[in-house]
Amino acid sequence: MAQGWGLGALINLDHYGHYLQWHVIQISVANLIVIVLMVVTFVAALLAPFPGRRNRKGTK
């Protein structure tokens, strides 16, 4: 059976998930990475310059 190749070969996902625990709060590392990426994307979307923004000033 053809198994994963390419990106799957770079990152071995064939194991149990890793979890972080702080008192009653438990989260998988995978979910935490996604949340961090969303926060980074949100901040970048607010701060990164948008292409052609200067030319649009005054556009209705």
């Binding site: 053809a2 996604v34 990426l37 969303m38 994307t41 949100f42 970048a44 979307a45 607010l46 990164a48 948008f50 052609g52 923004r53 649009r56 000033k57 005054g58 556009t59 209705k60």
Partner: protein, 208 residues
């Protein structure tokens, strides 16, 4: 039939009302306000693009069914496309939600825009959950047996049985996609009627 009678027809009245509220240049505008030129405004359309991919890949999965998506390499590929388009869908929708929350996007009579977006989010979460239990593998069996306790503790298990694969699959591929598509359509129409919410400083009223 006289002109007055034609004007009173429900079709005439509906057409006038629709054109008045949403004229063609408002439905498909040529330009947007200058403040829309920001990356934070791209996540709504990213969410819709991902939804399109979710539906397209879901339709392909429906053509050949579980035996195909579990056993063939092309089935694995389309199944993975379905999963990753859902990941992008929720990722973009959350950033869109944070962006709109930070703008207080319900301002200026846009409460229905906000509400349709929020309900779409809830319907999408339910679609995601029913997708988990519709995979027809050990993962879906595990998730369903865990979820049944949560659902049963609410009393909802009598109507919504997560161990019933047929019911979950029908919700996942019929009812919830219809809800998501209709609600997304209403949300976009509300955005077109009311316009994109302006930044806070644009709302400041200058007193004399």
């Amino acid at each position: 039939m006289s002109n007055a009678q034609i004007e009173r027809q429900w079709t005439s009245r509906l057409r006038r009302s629709v054109v008045e509220k949403l004229p063609p240049d408002k439905l498909l505008p040529d330009t947007q306000p200058a403040y829309v030129a920001s990356w934070i405004y791209v996540f709504g359309v990213t969410t819709m693009a991902a939804l399109g991919m979710v539906i397209a890949t879901g339709c392909i999965l429906a053509l050949d069914g579980p035996q195909w998506w579990h056993s063939s390499s092309l089935g694995h590929f389309v199944n993975s496309m379905h999963l990753w388009s859902v990941e992008i869908f929720f990722f973009a929708m959350i950033v869109h939600l944070w962006g709109k929350f930070s703008m207080a996007a319900w301002r200026g009579g846009r409460s229905l825009t906000w509400v349709t977006g929020a309900v779409t989010f809830l319907a999408s979460i339910l679609a995601g959950f029913t997708g988990y239990v519709s995979q027809t593998n050990f993962d879906s069996q595990w998730i369903a047996t865990q979820a049944k306790d949560g659902i049963n503790s609410t009393g909802g298990g009598a109507f919504f049985n997560v161990l019933n694969l047929g019911q979950m699959l029908m919700w996942h591929i019929v009812l919830l996609p219809i809800a998501a598509i209709v609600l997304t359509g209403l949300h976009v129409i509300m955005v077109r009627i009311k316009g994109v919410v302006p930044p806070f400083e644009e709302n400041v009223e200058v007193s004399a």
